[in-house]
Amino acid sequence: MACAIAREVRDGETVAVGTLAPVPASGVLLAHFTHAPRATVVILNHPDYWPFRGGSREFYDFAQRGRFDLFFLSGGQLDRHGNLNLIAVGDPARPSVRLPGGAGAAMLYYLPRRVIVFRTEHSPRIFVERVDVVTSPGSTPPDVVRPGGPWKTVTPLCVFRFDPGRRALVVESVHPGVTREALQARTGFALDYDPAAGTTPAPTAEELGVLRTRVREAVARTYPRFAAAAFGAQR
């Protein structure tokens, strides 16, 4: 997932990673340490990558000005239309699961130029036909300020591309070792494939090497438990 995310980061862009997002943080740092050295990297709660002094207000104000090129969001439920649910599973008045809340996730799905949705669990309870509550809609009427929006969705099984014409996710690539049958069985909506859909390129030896050294070390400043567990054998 980190490698798939890293490949979406473009050199020179301003890229931000929000709360509870160690996988995007790893992907962005991998890009920064390889092909995107001139990217401006913002990682919430990271001592080296948090350029603000005015709390989250300064971050949100910066986002409102449309200054982020790439941002990351997730959700308790995600649907084929790119809608995210961070509020509740079931009726929000009597939820079966109370999710953490949006915390700006609606606005942050509109203003950054490209948003990558990530989720480390790819299952029918997460990837549903229709989310129970729309915290962040995949698409909006034309009279709403929305310079950006959904771009890709990255999971442990595949990469989706958001197709703005169809207002829906289409599978762009399936990760190595995952069959289309297995992917459908783990997804709660009928999959559409991009005509050019193929296999996600496997991580290269160089990518793995940087992940397990510089990225692990940098991510550990904010996510020590993740860094200790997620990068495979200690080198």
Binding site: L44, N45, G55, S56, R57, Q64, Y110, L111, P141, D143
Partner: protein, 147 residues
């Protein structure tokens, strides 16, 4: 607020209003009412006796203090005005925003004070486990709050 229009917030929060943007015809924007707390309790890295606080620059304590009618601050330590800038890394909130201040070392535990002590994850796990039922939660309160 730019963006945001079109989510279920408008259904769940009727106090959030969508209006035509008076400065950009043909565009709708969202209004969110201000939150005005009666009381804010915040914990500072350091404070002076007049209530001036050194606060974590990654958190929103200064914003919270400026929104609230009454602000009661605790601080890891109370220092002189000359010592405050060197008391740690943070941002300074002037004492005019603060109603009362008290020295309370360790006052943020089991959460953290950046640069002073880390989050106590084991203590938080213990709390989460204790909070699952009334008997274990009462035992937790007796031990850590009333004890």
């Amino acid at each position: 607020m730019a963006g945001h229009v079109g989510s279920d917030y408008e259904r769940l929060r009727p106090d959030f209003r969508v209006i035509p943007n008076p400065y950009a015809p043909g565009e709708r924007v969202l209004l969110v009412p201000p939150i005005r707390p009666d009381l804010a309790l915040i914990h500072a890295i350091a404070a002076t006796a007049d209530g001036t606080l050194l606060l974590d620059h990654m958190e929103d304590d200064a914003l919270l203090a400026q929104a609230s009618r009454v602000v009661v601050a605790s601080a890891e330590r109370v220092v002189t005005p000359a010592e405050l800038p060197a008391a740690g890394e943070g941002v300074v909130l002037q004492g005019i925003h603060v109603t009362a201040v008290a020295e309370a070392p360790g006052g943020a535990r089991p959460t953290f004070v950046r640069g002073v002590y880390p989050v106590d994850a084991d203590a938080i796990r213990e709390y989460v486990a204790a909070a699952r039922d009334d008997a274990s939660f009462k035992a937790w309160l007796d031990r850590f709050v009333y004890g």
